[in-house]
């Protein structure tokens, strides 16, 4: 049995890729899986602090691919009781330190040992992004319900499809039910009709998430946090638990993507 390598990407920075990687990774480990999360944001390492493991970083991803250390020397086991490991990014190197085929070989290797290999991608659509997606077999795109993030996500979805990563799935982060109710923020239907991809779940803007991140404990450990519950559900869906959340209007497939865009104001032609 081989594991699943999933890249978490977005185009736009600051939308919650690393937060999603840390929490979904932790939640999958809580479900009993062996999970490794890889930070590929070389020069802007963050996953270590989000997971609260920064004081234990000795070697990093670049050391591993360059053979400076063994893979297991660079992997940091999470302080909790689960089978969760972090492979941190290099902080003082640049993006050219690692090549697509190296990350690819590494992930194939890790898939033999882990159920999930989750690759946290840097922002942007250049070299770092291309390397991060090259090793993955599935993709999660994180967006916020606002214009710039969705526009960037559309671009990224196009690039993922062109790279053979078909049907990426969406995490809509930082939603406000209150603003959606007032009609001040795009909701799930709006975003699905624009991007025509399946939604894994929506994560609210949450103070408890900020507090958890400050403490270096992923918010999925906080049972009272709505964002933590949302990440648990997302992990369950990734894990194939279809019963978890009925996400309305989940569209899949390319023709549905097409229909989605037309459906906005041209429903008369939706038979196309």
């Amino acid at each position: 049995m081989t594991g699943r390598t999933i890249v978490v990407t977005s185009g736009k920075g600051g939308v919650g890729k690393s937060t999603t990687t840390a929490n979904v990774g932790t939640a999958l480990a809580m479900r009993g899986h062996r999970v490794v999360v890889i930070d590929t944001d070389i020069g802007l390492r963050n996953l270590d602090v989000i997971l609260g493991l920064e004081s234990r970083v000795a070697y990093d991803l670049v050391d591993v691919v360059q053979g400076v250390c063994k893979l297991h020397q660079a992997m940091i086991r999470d302080k909790h009781r689960f089978e969760l490991y972090l492979l941190p990014a290099a902080q003082t190197r640049d993006k050219n330190c690692i090549q697509a085929d190296q990350l690819n070989a590494l992930c194939r290797n890790l898939e033999r040992e882990f159920d999930y290999v989750i690759v946290d991608s840097p922002a942007g659509i250049d070299q770092g992004f291309k390397i991060a997606i090259s090793a993955a077999r599935e993709a999660i795109v994180v967006v916020n319900p606002e214009i710039a993030a969705i526009r960037d996500a559309d671009r990224v979805i196009g690039l993922l499809e062109a790279a053979g990563l078909h049907r990426p799935k969406l995490v809509i982060n930082r939603v406000s039910q209150e603003m959606m109710r007032r009609g001040d923020m795009m909701d799930e239907d709006d975003i699905v009709s624009l991007l025509s991809v399946e939604v894994l779940g929506m994560v609210p803007i949450d103070e408890r998430l900020i507090i958890a991140t400050n403490r270096g404990v992923p918010v999925v450990y906080d049972r009272k946090a709505l964002s933590g519950v949302a990440f648990q559900k997302i992990a369950a869906r990734i894990d194939g638990d279809e019963a978890v959340i009925p996400v309305a209007n989940a569209k899949s497939g390319l023709m549905d993507r097409v229909r989605g865009l037309i459906g906005i104001d041209r429903s008369a032609f939706s038979h196309v």
Binding site: E146, I147, I150, R151, D154, R155, I157, G158, E161, A162, H166, M180, R182, G183, D184, M185, M186, D187, D190, S193, L194, L254, M255, R257, V258, L261, I262, I264, D265, R266, F269, V272
Partner: protein, 93 residues
Amino acid sequence: MFDAIKHAAANGGSAKDQARRRLHDTLIQDRVDLAPEVMEALKRDLLGVITRYMEAPEGFQEFEVRRENGWPVLVCRLKVREHQSKIASININ
């Protein structure tokens, strides 16, 4: 400044409807990477060519770029007059 926001609100419905509409148009442009004026020129020229052969009194009903199998596809649709006034469609890939 705030007046500008109020003005926009009065004209375009809710904030989320405006966001969705603006994104819809922007994504179409992005997918084909042509300036809006160029898209308009293309539309005009195409209509000119088509109406040399058939009548299309209503112009394009649909003129947009979608994504199919990872590729942007230009899809145009217009009603043309025929003896029975049926709809014929022209797809240009």
